[in-house]
């Protein structure tokens, strides 16, 4: 009888609607999108918007085209841009956020006011932020005027330069080398910990991968001709705007973390003879590590799926500042290639999943550990 207590019934009744809505509108649509990406819907214009479209299943063809067809180099540049953007955006937010939190932690005058000022940008939507920064970073716009910079050489958002370029054809090679080195490191750790089997498996795999990279890798070609992708300078403007918007958020997280550190710990370190810097380095920063991880997860998925900020700042057609989410919108709703759009969406989902799933797994594990 206990199983059907009123509380339990209530909780089931209250939760059911959201469970159903989630099942349909999140997981159902994810499944539908993933399935659509495996079809040829929209590749034939006559079928794209037909009342009774003939949609054929073509397996992974769309993904294959995205990564290797000569017409999809924009998608590949977008992937590279997103990775660079993510790294700089997260680094910028963490450093700036931590800096502001440390300043506020020293209890300056009018602390509440500063907190509000730092946190304020986050209350704006990305569209508003984008529009403001678009005005400021235009060639004839605010920043160039303010600092008397030459608009011809200071194209914040209009630069077509690209640095750190590498050949897309070398992606399998680079991947093999990176994974191989990572496995070598695992093997070395295993040696230190005295785990025999682990050492042998990791070292063997690393050797195989590195051998492949040395012998076969240089001859693998994804594309008939070399294709350079790099970090587009025009992204700097967008990174500035994005950091401006989100660093207040990391500041709030870090400040909460700093305030949560008991005063006894700081006193103890002082008693042990540590100076201010050593206190931070050996006591406070390690304690902030979990906060850094949470912030990275949140910022990471924001940056991977970013759309509105870029749309507002440089529009949907500016190659040097394009991101996959924008390309997905254009491919689906302008080019009418619905299946290819779905494939881009699925790639984005996978990228976000790569960040989120390990985090969720570790969260669940620690929760179980506490329980």
């Amino acid at each position: 009888m206990k199983r059907f207590s009123t509380d339990r019934l209530w909780s089931i009744a209250v939760l059911t609607p959201s469970v159903i809505l989630l099942a349909v509108f999140v997981y159902g649509f994810i499944f539908r999108t993933a399935y659509t990406s495996l079809t040829d819907w929209g590749n034939d214009p006559a079928q794209a918007f037909s009342l009774t479209p003939i949609i054929r299943f073509i397996g992974l063809q769309n993904y294959h085209d995205l990564f290797t067809s000569s017409l999809n180099s924009r998608f590949r540049q977008d992937l590279v841009s997103t990775l660079f953007f993510t790294v700089f955006f997260i680094a910028g937010c963490l450093i700036l956020g931590l800096g502001m939190a440390l300043l506020l932690d020293r209890n300056p005058k009018a602390e509440g006011l500063w907190r509000t000022i730092f946190l304020f940008p986050m209350s704006l939507s990305f569209i508003v932020t984008g529009t403001i920064w678009r005005w400021m970073l235009q060639p004839q716009g605010g920043l160039n005027q303010l600092f008397h910079l030459d608009p011809a050489t200071n194209g914040w958002l209009t630069s077509r330069e690209s640095i750190w370029s590498f050949d897309w054809n070398k992606i399998p090679l680079i991947t093999a080398v990176v994974v191989g080195l990572a496995l070598l490191w695992v093997a070395w750790r295993a040696v230190r910990d005295g785990q025999r089997t682990r050492t042998w498996v990791a070292a063997g795999c690393a050797a195989l991968l590195l051998l492949w990279a040395l012998v076969i890798g240089p001859n693998v070609k994804l594309l008939p001709s070399p294709e350079l992708h790099g970090f587009n300078i025009a992204f700097i403007g967008i990174i500035i705007a994005a950091v401006w918007q989100m660093s207040g958020y990391t500041m709030a997280l870090y400040l909460a973390g700093l305030r949560g550190i008991p005063e006894e710990l700081r006193e103890a370190s002082r008693v042990d003879g540590a100076n201010e810097w050593n206190t931070y380095r050996h006591v406070i920063f390690p304690l902030l590590a979990p906060i850094t991880l949470s912030a990275m997860i949140i910022l990471g998925h924001i940056s991977l799926k970013i759309f509105d900020l870029v749309f507002a700042m440089t529009g949907p057609d500016n190659g040097p500042t394009d991101v996959p989410a924008l390309l997905m919108y254009i491919t689906s709703f302008r080019q009418n290639a619905l299946a290819v759009g779905a494939a881009i969406g699925t790639v984005l989902l996978l990228l976000v999943a790569v960040i989120i799933i390990p985090y969720l797994a570790s969260q669940f594990r620690t929760q179980e550990g506490h329980a």
Partner: protein, 415 residues
């Protein structure tokens, strides 16, 4: 007490019925005409309401330049089985290549016959909106994409004349650069750059060659087409480097301020300069066909059609009759800054620029614009934006031509 409830119920039911009876006479018009273009649409709707006072017009405008947002909304509505009664689409491939091939539109041939429109609209326009013998929409306005704008006083000051060919443009460009004009030609964001390529290609291939690109008789890999990209690359060297950050209005402003000499833009620029900037056509600003395209009119047009499954079919047919009438076109176009698609419009209602454009409309060879959805299907136009972007960075004419041909094959052009 009970009786009053009963009465209330009866009254509500009666009200519901009348509301339904009224609702039977309604029409939903879906467009992206807001802001500056709103009054023109309002004038059309007013005319329609005068003729059909019992019909309630639902003006379903989705804002956003050139329909970027509206088209996405329209597509989701069509996929969801909820078509608007009548929607705006650029005449040409944007309509036929997306909606007509998908069998979503009704054939309007009988309407053209009963209204006698076959002789009123130029044949080139009717060809653009025809597919396999049927006519699928009613064009309401016409814009020209190959117009070059300049300020006569500035040209006089620099001592240069308007170039008649692209080769002349390059010489003029060097002269101007020597006189300290860093970017003699000003361009804006991606689609305005594509309009320059479109002008160059039409000039170098000729109207027939341009049309052959879109019916598959001329391949993009043909040396003649590669040459258009080479020329485009040289023209880009005459232009501003910050193009991607400028809207077309900001690009026009640079011509007006004397930072640049020329700008190639559709004739909505005339409206901007006369209405917003209060300049006099002919003295404050002047125009000529873009170099090498004299005698050719690269057109784009807005049109409305009748989607299959529209809920208010009769009202839509009446709406289309108003759109295609001389009266309707002359009410709409002077406000929109475009010219009437009909050749018999009342020119006294139009401004100086529009009168000259209307004259050309009747005498020139008419071809469709690729950028604005007349000549090429949406899948091509959208992909060409990326090709243009890659070309602006690389200046590799061969690669751009090859990519365009791959894109044309994927978009099934000429098949």
């Amino acid at each position: 007490m009970k009786k009053s409830i009963k009465n209330a119920l009866v009254i509500t039911a009666a009200l519901g019925l009348t509301a339904q009876a009224l609702a039977a006479n309604k029409i939903e018009i879906f467009s992206w005409w807001a802001g500056d273009e709103g009054p023109a649409l309002a004038a059309l709707i007013k005319l329609y309401e005068q003729k059909y006072p019992t019909v309630k017009v639902d003006n379903a405008t989705v804002t956003g330049g050139a329909g970027t947002n509206a088209k996405a909304v329209l597509k989701t509505r069509m996929l969801g089985g909820d078509p608007p009664d009548s929607f705006q689409a650029h005449a040409g491939q944007e309509l036929t290549g997306t909606w007509v091939v998908a069998d979503r539109m009704e054939d309007l041939s009988s309407l053209y016959k009963s209204e006698g429109w076959a002789s009123k609209f130029p044949k080139a326009v009717i060809d653009l909106i025809s597919y396999k013998g049927g006519i699928y929409s009613v064009p309401v306005d016409v814009h020209r994409s190959n117009v070059m704008w300049y300020v006569p006083a500035n040209l006089k000051k620099w001592g240069v004349s308007v170039p008649k060919t692209w080769a002349e443009m390059l010489t003029t460009c060097n002269t101007l650069k020597a006189k300290g004009v860093a970017a003699p030609l000003v361009m804006g964001e991606n689609w305005t750059q594509q309009m320059v390529w479109e002008s160059i290609a039409t000039a170098m291939l000729g109207p027939q060659g341009w049309n052959n690109l879109w019916n598959g008789k001329l391949k993009f890999t043909d040396p003649k087409v590669v040459d258009t990209f080479t020329m485009y690359g040289k023209v880009l060297d005459c232009a501003n480097k910050d193009a991607s950050g400028l809207s077309w209005q900001q690009a026009t402003d640079r011509v007006l301020s004397g930072q640049s000499a020329f700008n190639i833009m559709g004739d909505w620029a005339a409206g901007y300069m006369t209405t917003t900037k209060k300049l006099k056509p002919g003295t404050g600003f002047a125009w000529s066909p873009s170099p090498g395209t004299s005698g050719t009119f690269i057109m784009l047009a807005d049109s409305f059609g009748l989607p299959k499954g529209a809920k208010d079919r009769t009202e839509v047919l009446n709406w289309l009759k108003v759109l295609g009438s001389k009266e309707g076109q002359d009410a709409f176009n002077p406000l929109k800054g475009s010219i009437a698609a009909r050749t018999d419009s009342n020119l006294s209602k139009y401004g100086a620029y529009s009168r000259s454009a209307a004259k050309d409309w009747k005498s020139n060879t008419i071809v469709g614009s690729m950028v604005h959805g007349a000549a090429a299907p949406e899948s091509f136009t959208s992909g060409f934006g990326s090709i243009n972007d890659a070309f602006v960075s690389s200046h590799d004419a061969k690669a751009a031509a090859q990519a365009s041909q791959d894109l044309a094959t994927q978009a099934r052009i000429g098949m």
